[in-house]
């Protein structure tokens, strides 16, 4: 298509409006805009990733170990924590995980936040009703009300509500098992580069195509996060007047559509680039590090801790003998 420019600037562009900027009003409290919030979240993810990169490269306890041993150890301990019937052992194990986190250079606040907040927010909330006598009958630990007739519409509530010891035990088991699994996964991910984890999974038998998908997902997730940040800034830079809720919604719709379109375009380009570089569907990945004496010692300790976790009192008796 031939493009013709009119050449001369439109008349309104030939002068500056020279309007003074108004004096900004101070707001004592203002709800954070959700687009702003998304920007802040993107920034947080990038910062956390940078922090994680530093932790991975720090020559501390877990970082020195071969990734396959760490992956196997984490899987083994997760299984053991699911099998255990001893609450005390699970609680003690939290202390061991915390100690390992500190020895591996993780910040205590960050570790606890990443483990306990999701555990309490998801498992904690889900298991909360189980502590009450209506769901888990048993020995009363705390009476909430007694001999009271309550009715909500046609629903007649039992005359007594209490927290039971059995309910608390069930809730504590679910919560501690969640915290254990999350703690182990976070320790593994925070002390091992992502590409090393995927290579280790590949070496341990995960199909190559899955390993590649995991690798690429991680890589492109960041690319798209950065792009999303620019999308939001791009819009922000053009908001020159009052905004209507409807216009924001329409922007979100078009931004999502734009993203999907970009995803398709990127996928095509990436696929073409992979084929151009000789990709035939086979993945070859290897780990330069091999397990040594240190890894053997670590794995023996992991097995002992795992059996202790599972074995409970039986293991304690065995040790005493």
């Amino acid at each position: 298509m031939s493009i013709k420019h009119s050449g001369a600037l439109p008349k309104y562009l030939t002068y500056n409006e020279q309007q003074q900027l108004p004096i900004a009003r101070k707001a004592w409290w203002q709800r954070q805009d959700y687009l702003e919030k998304t920007l802040v979240d993107i920034h947080r993810v990038i910062v956390e990733n940078l922090y994680q990169k530093d932790v991975c490269l720090h020559p501390s306890f877990l970082q020195r170990l071969e990734p396959r041993v760490k992956v196997l150890g984490a899987i083994f301990l997760i299984v053991m924590s699911a099998l255990t019937r001893d609450l005390f052992n699970l609680a003690v194990f939290q202390g061991i995980l915390l100690l390992v986190a500190l020895l591996s250079g993780l910040r205590l606040k960050s570790y606890l936040g990443r483990v306990w907040l999701p555990a309490l927010g998801v498992s904690g909330v889900a298991v909360l009703p189980a502590i009450f006598s209506w769901i888990t009958p048993g020995e009363v630990w705390l009476v909430i009300y007694h001999d009271l007739s309550l009715q909500i519409g046609s629903l007649v509530l039992p005359k007594e509500l209490a927290i039971t010891q059995q309910g608390l035990t069930v809730a504590a088991f679910v919560l501690l098992r969640t915290v254990t699994s999350l703690g182990l996964v976070i320790l593994l991910m925070a002390t091992t580069r992502w590409d090393m984890i995927t290579k280790a999974l590949g070496n341990l038998g995960m199909p190559g195509i899955l390993v590649m998908v995991l690798d690429m997902t991680y890589r492109y997730l960041f690319l798209f996060l950065l792009l999303l940040g620019d999308y939001i800034l791009g819009r922000k830079s053009r908001v020159v007047g009052g905004e209507q809720y409807r216009s924001r919604l329409s922007w979100i719709g078009s931004a999502l559509a734009g993203f999907l379109r970009l995803l398709v375009e990127y996928s095509r380009e990436i696929s073409a680039a992979m084929i151009a570089r000789g990709y035939t569907g086979e993945i070859h990945s290897g780990l330069s590090q091999s397990p040594g004496r240190r890894e053997a010692c670590f794995f023996i300790i992991v097995i002992i801790i795992g059996i202790a976790l599972w074995g409970g009192e039986w293991f304690a008796r065995l040790i005493c003998i």
């Binding site: 493009i3 600037l9 562009l13 500056n16 004096i23 940078l50 053009r238 379109r261």
Partner: protein, 252 residues
Amino acid sequence: MPDLFAFELQDVSYHYRVGELSLQGINLKIRAGERVVLLGPNGGGKSTLQKIIAGLIFGEGKFTAYGRAITAEVMRDKDFAAAYRRKIGFVFQNSDVQLFCATVLDEIMFGPLAMGMGYAEARQRAQELLDFVGISALAERMPQHLSGGEKKKVAIAAVLAVNPDALILDEPTNGLDPKTQRWMITTLNALHRSGKTLLVATHNLDLVPEIADRVIVLGENHQMIVDGSPDRILNDRALLLEANLIDEYCPY
């Protein structure tokens, strides 16, 4: 206001986290109506500096624009933020991120309508801009179906639609064909003659003598290495090598 500084930065720094600076200790004054080019290597902090000046991100230190301190707090006032965005136009390197309307025409009319202009006047302004940038035939097309050069023209037209006093452009000639690059240079100079302040980040040294009164070079250490005339900087081969703007085989 003959001596008004459009932008004043005093010891401005920006970091993603403690110890990871992307901009460090920038002291800079830009007069209204000046044409300034930012040069620097990849990751030197050019885009970060531009985003701070556009009031999109906020660093440490003091930043004043047209006599008003620009901080995260003042930009929370929606009226102030809207007035500021109207005064400062930002053309992103990736045009895709700033084009979000259904058609090219909607894209250009978005700004004027948002600032309260009537539909007929906004439509006329959009038509003038479409003619000016030479994309009248694309008015009803979807921006995502355009070529890179066409998208860049739409982005510029959309920003110019609100008649900003200052224009910030991030790598404006990247990926453009020679004809569109020439159009860009002519347009920027025409805007300069009409009194607009221009702040252009680029890697393209050939562009510098054509669009700059003044050149600021950011180094790989994220600091300002030098602030001077285009002649002085382009003739300082040692400086260009130090700033990683040329290699030893480059004719500059």
